[in-house]
Each structure stands twice: as C-alpha cells, then as structure tokens.
Symmetry: C2
Subunit: 360 residues, 2 copies
C-alpha cells in the first residue's frame, strides 16, 4: 500500500466525529436531501472542526464524473482570440464547479497524444475545441467518443455535438462590398504572416470568403492580390516573446514590400487579424503610404489593439463565443439537448479611421 506521508482527514474521520456513517456525511456535505437538519448541522460542525474537504479525485473516481472540461487551443493561450474565448468558457463553467483545463496544440503530435488519452477513461466530462482544422480521420474519431465535443469557430460541424461560430465568409463579403463601395479597383488579402500552429483555420476560411466575394463583386484576377502566411516559420522554439515578435516584424516588412512592389498596386487591403493589421499599418505609413486617403486598410477581430489607431475592422466577440460554447457543454453534460446545436454568432463591421472613399 502507498506510503502515507500525512494522515489526511477523510470522510471517515468526519463520520466518527459526528457519530454518523460515511454515507450520511457524504449526503450532508453535498447538500443532498433526505438528511435530517440536525444531523446535517452536526456533520457540518464536525467537518469544520476537522477542516475536512472532499478529495476531488476520489469523488471523481467513485461517481464517474470528473468535473473537468478540456479546452483545446491550436496555438498560444495568450493570443487575443484564444484568451478571450477561454475567459468566456471559464466564466460559465467555473461557476458550475467545473475545472477548465487548457491544452495547447502546437503540433500534430500534441493532438494525437491528447486524443489518445481520451477514450475509455472519464478524464474529462466534455471537450471544447477552438479554431481547429481536423482531418476526416480525426473527426471520425471524435464520433467514437462518448463525451460531448463542442466546437468554437470550427470549419465543419462534423464530429461535434454542438458548436458556435462566426460566419467568416459572410463577414468577408461585407468587407469586400465595403472596399468596392469606397471605390477600390484593386484589392488585397493578407494572411497572418507567421502561422505557428498547423490547426488554425481562420486563415483559409477567411481567404476563401474574400476570394469568393471579390469574384462576386466583379474583381478579376489581376486586381486581387493574396499574400499567404509563412506557415510554421517559427518551428524551432522561439526563445521568448520578444524574439518571436522580432520575427513577425520582419515578416510584416516583407509583406509591405510585396504590396508596394505589386504589379497592380492594391488600394483596398484586408488583413486576417487586427494585430497584424496594426503592424502593417504602421509599416505602410512609414513607407509613405497615406492611409486612409490613398489606401484603405481593414482588420479582423475587434482586438483592442486596433482602438489605438482607430482601425476599421470586423468585430467578433470571443467572450460570448466561449460562454455560448460552455452553455452548450453544460446542457450536453446534463444529458439535455442544447436549444440549438450549432449556432452562428454575429459579427459587425466597425468603421473607423483606416478606411475612406477613394477620391483620386
């Protein structure tokens, strides 16, 4: 038997102290009914006196409910979207007594390891997955699992019991319509310059929407420029935040150069996210581009980094996405069907100071 370093006070100690059985202690302390008020008071006093608290682990094992929800993130937990989403999830789930455990997936291996840890055991009561691309095999595997899987901004609902997402494609249509109405004849879409995780899906989805909308608005190929990510550029360990930002700065200046040197120079530019948009804005202005007089720039997210420079952007509310996903998770864990399995959350175009009608 295991060495017992400290004599822990267990439910049995409380039972003895209160002069009742362990099951009564369990009932009393969990607030279940069918317990005499007097008995309950006695048990609570005993627990208080002995400073007793439940072992979550033991409760989990006995009850089969882990009271734990995993949140899978495709890259840093400190990115704007991820941290706000997590906050929303945390808020709702922690209130109900759940632990919310983040898992950051940098490589395929991380994902497989995680998936491999799931089946058969009750390590989690639900899994929430954000902004992920999963291949067919992986989605199929999800179907295998018995615990609820909830997606946030996942490109396909397949394999998920519920999901919440924004409509990236519709949002990009709005962006392109705006650029068209402002008089821009030549437009560009800039992906996030450095993409560290292979699972992030917003890039490809938004690009697709952009191209689709551009075509629909009558732009021909010569007037559409696309600047792709350098996927997995930072493959070796970035040693710290500072350094990785440095690499990003280089990427931004590279993008600016591509824009400046383009055959048909775009005057309407959409960037995959606000953080990059802001950096690019600064760089383009440094190079002498007049924004918004000559060039319009639009970001995506509603990241407060854009407030500083009054960036025009497409706003989404990740906290609310997180809350909604957590709500669905709660319903599914209770065994209910959520009101709506797959929800589309709104986005809105926030017109600020980096877009203007082209007067040339």
């Amino acid at each position: 038997m295991p060495g017992q370093q400290t004599a822990r006070t267990t439910i049995a100690d409380v039972a003895k102290e209160a002069g009742v059985s362990v099951s009564t202690v369990s009932r009393a302390l969990r607030g279940l009914d069918k317990v005499n008020p007097d008995t309950r008071a006695r048990v609570e006093a005993a627990a208080e006196k002995l400073r007793f608290t439940f072992s979550k682990t033991a409760s989990s094992l006995a009850s089969g409910k882990s009271m734990r929800v995993a949140v899978l993130l495709p890259n840093e937990i400190n990115s704007w979207f991820n941290s706000y989403t997590f906050e929303g999830v945390y808020e709702v789930l922690s209130r109900e007594g759940y632990d919310v455990v983040p898992y950051v997936m940098w490589e395929e291996r991380d994902l497989n390891r995680f998936f491999h840890t799931l089946p058969g055991t009750q390590n989690f009561d639900a899994v929430i997955v954000t902004s992920f691309i999963l291949d067919a095999a992986q989605r199929e595997f999800l179907d295998t699992l018995t615990i609820p899987m909830i997606g946030i901004n996942v490109p396909s609902t397949e394999g998920f019991d519920a999901s919440v997402r924004i409509d990236d494609v519709a949002a990009m249509h709005g962006v392109v319509r705006l650029l068209r109405s402002l008089g821009h004849e030549s437009i560009a879409y800039v992906e996030q310059p450095v993409q560290l995780s292979p699972f992030v899906c917003s890039d490809s989805v938004r690009l697709e929407g952009f191209l689709d909308a551009a075509e629909q608005q009558g732009y021909d190929e010569e007037h559409i420029l696309t600047i792709p990510s350098l996927t997995r550029a930072g493959s070796e360990d970035d040693d710290d935040a500072q350094e990785s930002v440095g690499g990003e700065a280089a990427a931004i200046s590279d993008i600016a150069a591509q824009l400046v040197g383009a055959t048909s120079q775009p005057t309407g530019i959409c960037v995959e996210n606000d953080r990059c948009a802001v950096m690019l804005l600064k760089e383009l202005r440094r190079l002498g581009w007049r924004i918004p007089e000559e060039v319009s720039l639009i970001g995506f997210d509603g990241d407060n980094v854009g407030d500083v420079v009054d960036l025009t952007t497409v706003r989404q509310n990740p906290v609310q996405l997180g809350r909604a996903a957590a709500g669905k998770a709660l319903a599914l864990m209770r065994g209910d069907e959520p009101d709506e399995a797959h929800t589309v959350a709104p986005t809105s175009l926030l017109m600020r100071a980096t877009t203007a009608r082209l007067t040339a």
Copy 2:
C-alpha cells in the same frame, strides 16, 4: 454501486488480453523498468488493440499524486501579464505531464473558497499564485499546507516556498531618475483606472516605489501628483468586453481631466501599465498636449500594445517569470530544494518615442 453507462476498458482487460497481471500492465505501460521487453511489447499490443488509456483519476487516487497544478490569478486570464505568465507556466509544466488549471479570483469569497478546498486532500500537487496581495491570516494559512506554494510577483515571500518577482521599486527608481534627467520638475503617477480585483498588488507596490524615488530625487510634495484607481468600480457584472472597455474609456478621460486641471501641471507622467498608458496618450494628445515635446509619458510592462505608438516603458518578461516559477514548482514537487528559492528577475527601461528632454 454506480451505474456503469459504458463498459470501460480497464487495466484488467488489458491484463487478460496480454495474459499477464494488472501490475505488469501498469509497469509496462508506464515505462518502468523491471519489465521483460517481450512482455512489454505484448502488453502494448494489447493496450493498442483495446484502445486502452489510463484513467488519470484512478492513478491519482492510488498514487497520491494529482499531476495537477493550480494557478491563481487575481483577475482576468486575458490580461497581458496574466496570459503571458500562464503561457510560461503551461509550457514548462505541460511538458512534464502536469495539467495546469487556472483559477480566477474576483472576490475575497473566491479566494477563501479555493483555500478551503485545498487542505487535507491532494487536489493539487502545487499552487502557483500570481500578483497577489494576501493578508497575514491567509499567508499563515499557506504555511499550513503541505504542497508547494510558489509566488509570482507577490509582494512578500512569506508563506511561499519559492517565488519569482521583478523589483518594482527599483524599476520605479529608474523611471523617476529618467524623468528627473529629462528636466521634469513636476511629475505624476497614474494607477490603473479601473481595478476589478482586490488582490492585485502591482498598483500599490509601484506607487510606493515611485513616491520613494521621487522623494529621493528631491521632488517635494507639490510637484508630485498621484491619481489613484477607482477600486472595484466594475463590481456588478460587466456584460461583455466591449462594455467594460467603455467604462475604462470614461475613466481615462477623467484622468486626463485631472492631469490637465492639476495645480502644478505635471510634465513627466508614469502610468501603472502600458495598456492604460496608451489610452491616456491618445486622450492627452486629443486634448492638445504635445508628447514628447512638452510632456513625457512612461508605461510599464512591455505589452506589445505599446509598440504601435512607440511607448517608452519598463519592460518585464512574464513568460520567463512563468517558466521560472514552474521550474521551481517542479523542483519542489520532486522534493528537491530549488537552486534559489526567491528570485528577482530583471526589468529594463525601453526608451522610445513618448519621452524626450524638456526644452522649455
């Protein structure tokens, strides 16, 4: 006995399949030695075939190690400092197989509830606490616990087995020396306008350092202005990010008004953090203040929001603080003493475009 919804495949199933005992399966699958290579291969094949994976819960209960570390945060998990610190902790601990579970403390009640959940049970193998003010009773209580407690930017090391922090006071001395050398006769310190959590300590520590340094640099009271936080202003639930930002904007304009209306108008201003500094910078410029020509503004953190406007600031590296704390936690959980229980991490003054010599 509990209702068994799904016949889970357990270690016993694998044992039967492989024709060995459960303990051999346990040893083999955990990679312990004293297992015949052939046996191990057979066990692994059986586990693979049955898609077996360990139940963390059961392992925890039996071994007494939860493989779980709690991280206590005084407010949002999506603030710059918190999310980067968490990232650092996560990085180190997840690599060693630990789950990293965040707990956000909004009110005294949250903290007490958390503390109350700790003793007696082995719910966590260690607790990491960031930027917290704890009162004497709470610190004393920490000493009671048998699991390692590690602090990050905690004002006192009392009650902690290890800690990592920056030297806020020394940093503020640097700031004040800089302002003095730039020729500023009248200076101000601006606390974070809206303080939502009662546990955040950086405000008071930095203010103290500022005042101490100001005195040492020969500033008299009339030339030192302090603009305090509106503590707990957002006590009722902020309904979403947007709204809370709105309240902050109002607070910023209030601060700007206080600066503009001050008897002895300060020309050297230090703001508790970069996020607020950037907002204040924008507001002051809007009001016609020329920064850095007439007024110098310094932030604190090294938050990349400051990059956009080239904010002069005091830089700290929260990812590294997190990593260091996690490293100490690891050592303590192994039963070793960390190389150095209490570490002071460096900060650096980053001179950019919001400070300049006063030429008046």
